[in-house]
């Protein structure tokens, strides 16, 4: 840092990302509560542990190779190969990947991306509760959290990503790069995993499996909203001078930018976050006929649908986009469930995947011709680029690897828990041990009392 102004900007940016990361932690807390609330009592400790262990596994793998992928792959594989300028500084043995007073940003920026990685993995986790082996889910968590989502981030969320440059792909708050890919990935897994026992009647009619704790589920979704708001801030660069953006923006006015370094503001995204949440809630209430859980999830789906363009939409546009997305997503969820007999326990494929895809396509029309980034020569936002981008996110990087890996796991007999265990519940052994230990200590206490 040379000069106090640079020092101030650097330390402000360091602090800004650190705060967003702490807020984003609430997303994972929310997912844990939501999943535990949604699962039946006999599975809740297993469900919780399945989601908690995503944290260390994705964190260490994201340190070892996930972060490097983001910096190495923006051109890969079609437009210039590995990026040798940016990638080396982000290898796990680089000096900037450790305590280093000459670089105060890498750690907090890394952590902001890492929290997105947890989220991607956790979205998949919700769809597969009560029947997947933890070992199988944790392999998927590493794959989506530290490989596939970060490849899509390098392609479509890096300021120099080939999809941004060539397709005009624009996805400021991750309709596609987090949600479409995670929803597509979840779909790939549940297609192979199969439904929970009893989910479908013998004639194929889907049955509702109610949550064991609706209150926990409600608090969970509110925590996800809170963390998602922090996520929005984490997607921005808080303060930057035009000369740092390669002189692409003229004049001397400093600004906040989106991930592509195009100007936006916290004011804009605060308007749009809250209006899209509201549009989603209102539309979900109507379309679900007042179903509480779909209404809550609809708020999330509304934000996700509007996220691709929420750096630029007018707040009323954000509200209407959120509302339209939710109606499509809700209808699609039940159509897919009935038609293909797929059991998505928390509606993750719909709320994240379909919303992400719909949001990307809508943004292609509403922002047609808008420069995605400030860099000269980049394609402008357009419906074809957004649709191709949605396909890459949902199917190519999400659904396809999930389906292939799940097929391999299923063939090896390591994807799904045995039927007997599914019926008795994954917590049976722990409960049994708990009850035995409790009975033993009560008996010991009684014996001590009798001996007095």
């Amino acid at each position: 840092m040379d000069g106090n102004l640079n020092a101030l900007t650097t330390i402000f940016t360091e602090f800004y990302y650190w705060v967003t990361v702490v807020f984003m932690f609430l997303i994972h807390v929310g997912f844990c509560m939501y999943e535990v609330g949604a699962s039946r009592h006999r599975n809740h400790m297993h469900t919780l542990m399945k989601n908690i262990m995503i944290i260390p596994l994705v964190t260490v793998t994201f340190f070892f190779f996930g972060w490097w992928i983001y910096w190495a792959f923006p051109d890969f594989p079609f437009f210039g190969g590995l990026n040798q300028d940016l990638a080396p500084a982000n290898l796990p043995w680089s000096e900037t990947m450790g305590t280093n007073l000459a670089d105060r940003i890498t750690g907090v920026f890394w952590a902001a991306f890492l929290l997105f990685s947890w989220t991607a993995a956790s979205i998949v986790s919700g769809a597969v509760i009560e029947r997947i082996r933890s070992s199988a889910l944790w392999v998927h968590a590493v794959l989506i959290g530290s490989v596939f989502w970060i490849i899509d981030a390098a392609w479509g969320w890096h300021y120099a990503g080939w999809m941004v440059r060539e397709l005009g792909y624009h996805d400021a708050y991750a309709s596609g790069v987090i949600h479409a890919i995670a929803g597509g990935y979840a779909l790939g897994v549940i297609m192979v995993l199969g439904p929970r026992i009893g989910k479908f009647a013998p004639d194929g009619t889907p049955r509702d499996i109610p949550p064991h704790n609706p209150w926990m589920l409600t608090i969970g979704i509110f925590l996800i909203y809170s963390g998602f708001w922090g996520f929005y801030a984490a997607c921005n660069v808080p303060l930057i001078s035009p000369e740092v953006i390669g002189g692409e923006i003229v004049g001397t006015t400093w600004t906040a930018t989106n991930i592509y370094l195009a100007p936006t503001s916290l004011s804009a995204i605060t308007f749009n976050f809250l209006m899209s949440l509201s549009g989603g809630l209102m539309a979900a209430y109507v379309v679900s006929k007042g179903d509480a859980f779909w209404t809550f999830s609809g708020g999330l789906a509304g934000i996700i649908t509007a996220s691709a363009g929420n750096d630029l939409y007018h707040p009323i546009q954000a509200m209407l986009v959120g509302a339209v997305g939710v109606v499509i997503v809700y209808k699609l969820h039940y159509w897919v469930e009935r038609k293909f007999k797929l059991d998505d326990a928390v509606g993750a494929v719909a709320v994240h995947g379909y919303s992400g895809v719909v949001g990307l396509i809508i943004a292609g029309f509403l922002l047609w011709g808008v420069p995605s980034s400030p860099f000269e020569g980049y394609a402008a936002i357009n419906p074809i680029g957004q649709t191709v981008g949605a396909f890459i996110m949902f199917f190519v990087l999400g659904w396809l690897p999930a389906f292939i890996v799940s097929k391999m796991q299923a063939a090896a007999g390591v994807l799904r828990i045995p039927e007997e265990v599914e019926l008795q519940g994954l917590d049976y052994a722990e409960h049994h041990a708990y009850e035995d230990a409790k009975a033993e200590i009560i008996a010991a206490d009684k014996a001590a009392l009798a001996g007095q």
Partner: protein
């Protein structure tokens, strides 16, 4: 042609104001937004009325007594 009026970010931000799509249509957007809001109340009101009417005839006296005692 860009929906926000800018085809490049090579501009002086000191001169930039609104950047949302379809500037000039704010009144129309507000009308649409208000219609969405009012329409929501209308749909919710009608549905709730129908639901309450149906629910009125569903109550079993014995079950209602049990519910009251559960408090």
């Amino acid at each position: 042609m860009s929906t926000i009026g800018y085809e490049s970010w090579a501009v002086d931000l000191a001169d930039v104001g609104p950047v949302y799509p379809f500037q000039g249509s704010e009144v129309l957007m507000v009308i649409l937004g208000v219609a969405f809001w009012i329409g929501w109340h209308r749909i919710q009101f009608v549905r709730e009325g129908k639901h309450l009417e149906e629910a009125k005839h569903m109550g079993d006296e014995e079950k209602i007594h049990k519910i009251l005692e559960k408090y």
